[in-house]
């Protein structure tokens, strides 16, 4: 039977894909900041110590390298998420009133969290960042290949608009990372559960994924 404690908080494939994806996303962001700084869209650039690549050419080299890692890892994760039921069971957000209830609890620092089950706010954030990364990759492809993938660039409103959306997705992902890292610092056992095989904290009679 699919019962709570018999399962790991995070399956081995999820843990592996999480860390490969995390490294790839961080490389993409830091090298992307290097590229951004060559022609900033907003009135600021990133200091060099915050960027990857040393100069524009190096930033592009990192960006065009890490993108394949992110692309492969992301495709594997999407396929796994759909086929294994991980998305439906663990990520799919509940009804809006439950999300609002959890959000209210979270903002008053009284939202509980047990390993093996995501609450409404977590589900919303994780689904949001998965969508943001997908959009960052697709807009990235559209500004890398605005002729060969011109239909895709056109879908995003042309090259300049696709670039703006690409940078907006980066900003959303960075926003997620700040919240994500702050919560990991507050609850270090979640970090352990993403590194090592840690059992779910759900009751024995709770279904896997812990729908409430």
């Amino acid at each position: 039977m699919d019962r709570g404690r018999n399962y790991l908080a995070h399956s081995l494939p999820v843990r592996i894909m999480h860390w490969i994806g995390a490294i790839a996303v961080i490389c993409m962001i830091l090298s992307g900041w290097q590229i951004y700084s060559a022609s900033p869209l907003l009135p600021f650039t990133f200091p060099r110590w915050m960027t990857l690549g040393g100069w524009l050419g190096g930033g592009i080299a990192w960006h065009l390298s890490a993108m394949w890692v992110l692309f492969a890892d992301g495709l594997a994760y999407l396929a796994y998420g759909i086929l294994s039921g991980h998305f439906r069971r663990d990520i799919l957000p509940p009804r809006p009133n439950i999300i609002l209830r959890d959000l209210d609890d979270a903002l008053q620092f009284r939202l509980g969290h047990r390993l093996g089950s995501y609450n409404g706010v977590q589900r919303l954030l994780y689904m949001g960042v998965i969508i943001a990364i997908c959009l960052a990759v697709v807009t990235g492809l559209s500004i890398w290949k605005p002729v060969q993938l011109g239909w895709l660039t056109g879908l995003f409103g042309g090259y300049p608009m696709a670039r703006i959306i690409h940078l907006t997705m980066m900003a959303l992902i960075v926003g997620f990372l700040i919240i994500h890292l702050a919560l990991v610092i507050l609850f270090p056992r979640t970090l352990v559960s993403m590194l090592a095989p840690v059992r779910s904290e759900l009751d024995n009679d709770a279904p896997r994924g812990g729908v409430r």
């Binding site: 022609s39 110590w49 065009l64 002729v147 056109g154 670039r163």
Partner: protein
């Protein structure tokens, strides 16, 4: 008594100095930031990371060559979409723009049957194409301009170029250079531009003849052409030799 004015002010050469310091970084490689990130210190030798990045860039070149469709055209725009004012861009600041040498001609060399140099008059006698396309810089900005000139495929056939050769290399009298894969060189929108916005090119826009290739990033559209070579030996280029992705297709 008047104070003698310096021939060159510091502000005049600031971009050059920035360029020099940047090139010094490049000598060290592509990945200063990476090593700083990984080790917390600033090492000057990190050839392993650079080798990995260069391997990935070669992989990117192969993927881009496979993605390249010789019949797919870059989007064209109405005259009303032309960006004004058009932004000057080169590896040097605008005050250093080179004037066209007296007795200018375009040299052709390598795997071609007719190596006679071309005068501008001879080029003007060839068929012309006009395009209004988007110039996309590797830095991320873009602008729409209008160029007209001789399609490169017409020119390459006229000089009896070996169209099975791998590369077409361009040298410029301003010290710049770049190169294309043959498939991109033969693309119908790749032109030897002679006019910019209905008037002959002026020096800052690449007089007397420049390359215009909307299927690649802007740095491939070399200005102030001096020589064209058809070759099977990888020619590199000004920015390519410093680490820019060689194919850089759009």
């Amino acid at each position: 008594m008047t104070r003698k004015r310096a021939a060159v002010r510091a502000s005049d050469i600031a971009p050059e100095l920035a360029q020099l310091s940047r090139r010094r970084i490049l000598k060290g490689g592509l990945s200063l930031g990476a090593l700083t990130l990984l080790t917390g210190c600033d090492l000057s030798t990190h050839s392993g990371v650079d080798a990995a990045l260069l391997t990935m860039l070669e992989f990117d070149d192969r993927v881009q060559a496979a993605l390249f469709n010789p019949n797919r055209l870059a989007e064209t725009y109405p005259a009303s979409a032309i960006t004004k004012p058009f932004r000057f861009n080169a590896y040097y600041p605008e005050w250093q723009v080179r004037i066209v040498p007296a007795q200018w001609h375009l040299d052709v060399s390598g795997l071609v049957s007719d190596k006679t140099p071309w005068t501008l008059e001879n080029l003007l006698a060839l068929p012309r194409e006009t395009q209004i396309t988007r110039h996309i810089c590797i830095e991320g900005w873009s602008q729409i301009g209008q160029w007209s000139g001789v399609p490169l495929h017409v020119f390459l056939r006229r000089i009896g170029a070996d169209l099975r050769a791998r590369y077409v290399a361009f040298k410029c009298f301003d010290g710049y250079s770049t190169s294309l894969d043959m498939a991109s060189a033969l693309h119908p929108q790749t032109i030897l531009a002679i006019d910019f916005e209905d008037a002959p090119l002026t020096p800052e826009w690449g007089a007397p003849v420049r390359l215009r290739i909307p299927t690649k990033l802007g740095f491939k559209s070399a200005k102030n052409l001096q020589a064209i070579e058809v070759t099977n030996i990888y020619p590199g280029g000004f920015w390519e030799d410093q680490g820019y992705n060689w194919f850089s297709g759009s």
